[in-house]
Every structure is written in C-alpha cells, then in structure tokens.
Symmetry: C2
Subunit: 248 residues, 2 copies
C-alpha cells in the first residue's frame, strides 16, 4: 500500500464511538509499526488533519478536516441541502432514514436521521454500502446508465446475508422493477431483519449522485407500508435533486 494510503487509513480508524485513540492502538489496528504510525501521525498533524490531546497524548481528528470539508461543502452542498428533507422524511415515516453519496464505486453514508421509535434500525455515518444488496444501491443502479450497470454486474457479487441477490439475472430484474416504479425495495439483503426502501438523487446532468433510504425493522413493513414509504422517498429524493440543481 502507498504511504499516503497508510496515512489515510489511520484517519479512518477514528469513529463516532471512538474519537480518540492512542499511538500503540492506532499502529496495531492499522497493521503498522509504531514508529511508522507515529511518523505518519506527525506528518498529518503538521497539516492539522490530526491533533494530539496534550494531557492523555492520545490522537484525534484535527481542525484541518473541518476546514477542508467546509470548502467541499460550499462547492457541493449535498448534505447541507438534503439534511432537512431527510429529517422530514424520517418524521413522516417514523423510520430511520439515511443519505448516501456515490464515491469511488460505492455509496458512502454521509447523513442519518434515526427513527424516534425504540425498535429502530441503526445506521452509522461513514458506512460504505455496496451497489448490490442494498436498497440504496439498487436505486442507484436503476438510475444509472446501462453501461455503468453492466460494468458493475461483471464483477463477482459478495453475499452479505442468505437473502443477498448475487446473480446477474435477479439483480437485473430488481433494477428493472426499481426503474419502473421509481424506488427500490430490499428485505434483509445486507443486514438481517432490516427492510429498506431506496430512491436515487440526481445531479444537474441527470446522472445519480447519491441515494436516500428508509430503513425499518422487517416486522413493521407490509406491502402497503412499503408502497407509501416508496412514494414518500421518491418525493424527498426529487426535492433534494431540484434543490441541488437550483430549483429548476
């Protein structure tokens, strides 16, 4: 792996649950030597992507990341514009709703609004979703150009649960269905017990740039519920698309 890749993989060890980590721990989890990890951390710290707590000497993500993210967000205000719509959809459906952005061949979860119910689906910001096997992924593929889809389907498809669709034929059918009705539906294709409805968000050029998905416990969803969630999801996705591309 490149040195840069190693450095970034250090950054990726920090999570919402564990926002501060010590040197030895970082090195161990990244599979690096302590000396190497420290050198990389110092290089990152020089540019403020990493900070070190003076007392505990533990490391955490640095202010430079906030700065870079602000620059990106000003240019590409996906999360900022989508967040209120996601919240409304979560309140309307009473379920967890998550927003994903397409990047480097997969969907990256960038925002989540959790259901207010006790029995709810939990999704973490930062989770990477494959294009097959999740409602978000199917919705994304259904909105993509045919050549993109066929290119993706050529690669072997990993099964995440016993319900994951892994054959080209099953996926093509699911994609066609999603394209026809505007939203995708997936039950337990990625995690057991989770039912999801996905809808694609389109950019200015009509190509999909991300997705949103309503995630419920399977026990709470029948066909009628799914249909109403689907319509609400499509409405929300359209609203985000139009906000992004300047009303229209």
């Amino acid at each position: 792996m490149s040195t840069v890749g190693k450095a970034v993989s250090l950054l990726e060890l920090f999570t919402l649950r564990e926002p501060e980590i010590g040197l030895s721990d970082l090195a161990r989890r990244a599979g690096l030597d302590k000396a190497t990890a420290r050198r990389l951390l110092m290089a990152l710290a020089k540019h403020r992507l990493i900070e070190q707590e003076p007392q505990s000497r533990r490391y955490r993500l640095g202010a430079g990341l906030s700065r870079l993210a602000r620059i990106r967000d000003a240019h590409f205000p996906f999360v900022r514009l989508a967040a209120p719509v996601i919240r409304d959809l979560s309140l309307e459906t009473g379920e967890t709703v998550h927003l994903s952005e397409f990047s480097a061949g997969a969907l990256l979860t960038v925002h989540v609004d959790l259901s207010g119910k006790a029995n709810r689906v939990n999704v973490d910001v930062g989770q990477v979703l494959p294009l097959h096997g999740t409602a978000s992924g199917i919705a994304f593929l259904a909105a993509s150009k045919p050549e993109t889809v066929s290119a993706y389907l050529e690669k072997p498809l990993e099964a995440f649960t016993a319900h994951t669709m892994t054959t080209t034929e099953a996926l093509a059918r699911a994609i066609a269905l999603a394209a026809a009705r505007g939203y995708s539906r997936s039950a337990q294709g990625y995690e057991e017990g989770v039912h999801s409805i996905g809808a694609a968000i389109l950019g200015a050029d009509g190509q999909p740039i991300g997705t949103l998905a309503v995630a419920s416990p399977v026990s709470r969803v029948d066909d009628a519920t799914a249909a109403s969630q689907g319509e609400a999801a499509v409405r929300a996705a359209r609203m985000i698309s139009t906000r992004l591309t300047g009303e229209a």
Copy 2:
C-alpha cells in the same frame, strides 16, 4: 517533505474560490511532478478524500472529508455550537466576526460571518493566524498558562505590517492588558486598515481552545466603540465556552 505532506498539500490547494483543479495545475502549484501528483491523487481518491469529475477530468475534494469532519465535529462540536453566537455577535456589532481554533501552535480560522456593510473586513475560512500580531492571538495568549506564553515569546516574531508588535516587552504589555480587561485590541498589526477586538474561548479545563474576533475598518472604530465591541465579544466567548462545556 514527507510523501504524506505532499499529498495533504495537494488537498490544501482547493479553496472556496477554486474548488476544482486540473492535474497539471495541481502539480505545478504544489511543486510536484505530474506523475507524482497523479499517483498521490489516486491514493487519495481510493479513500475518497479526492474525487474526479468524470467529464472535465478535473479533481475536487471528496466525500470522505465530509465524513471525517462529521466524526470530528460530533466529538468536538466547536464550530456547530459557536456558529449561532458568532452570527449574533456579527449582527449586534455590524462587523465581520471570525472564529478560530487553536491547532499546532497557531490559530486556524474555521468560521466567519461577514459584516452586512459595504465597507467591511473580509476574512477567509482556512486562514492561519499567528499568536502575536492578531487580536485573536493576543487574547489567546492572555488566557494561556504563563509557561506557554514565555515558550512562544522565545521564538523570533515575524512582522506583518509596520504596526506589528515584535518585541517581547510590547507583547507582554499587550497580553497583560488583555488579561486584565478580558479582551484584546489590535490595530493594523496583521493587515493594514483592519482593527480587531479578540476574546478567548475556554475549554472544560479552563485552558483556551480558540478565539473569536470582531474585525472592523480602522476608520469606523473609536475608543467607545472598541469598548462596547470588547464587552460584546467577551459575552459571546463566554457563551460559547459554557455551551461547549455543558452549560455549567
């Protein structure tokens, strides 16, 4: 410079004004060979810190940065909690107000609310402020432990304008004055024509973690205005501190 440093310096070329840059341009400005720049960009893209616009083939900051910034922000919600207070202070004073976070020996501007007036001070997010010579810096030093201050004063101090204080004695006096009245005042110490009032924001342990500053054209500020700005700045800084440390 380390490879990691070079990679991060590529990220830092993107600004609010120029959020998308081509390969040759990036290489030129970073002082790197095209091949090197490209390899680094690919490594960054693999981790989604960089994205490439498919059509123009230009590069921009990636979604992974938003993700990492969200993790940091959840753990250390400095900007999120401070932003509304900064806005109120800007409205109250009618001047540009900027928020800085201490990181790696300097203050990093992380948020700005511009004055509504035509003749106003413009500050950019991402600007790095030295601890001497800016109102923010003096306010920060005035709230720091004496040993931190003396350690900083030992290093040579760069002059940014003809008005920059560069002698240890002058700085010590300014720091003592700021400590006494709670806010610092600096006229044209960093940029000609700019008058600033700074106040420190304290963390849970009582140590300063950042500053805010009211920046006005010098022509608009007399002693009375400065005093009222100072009091407002102190109030705002205290409010941010208490919000950060959980009401108190």
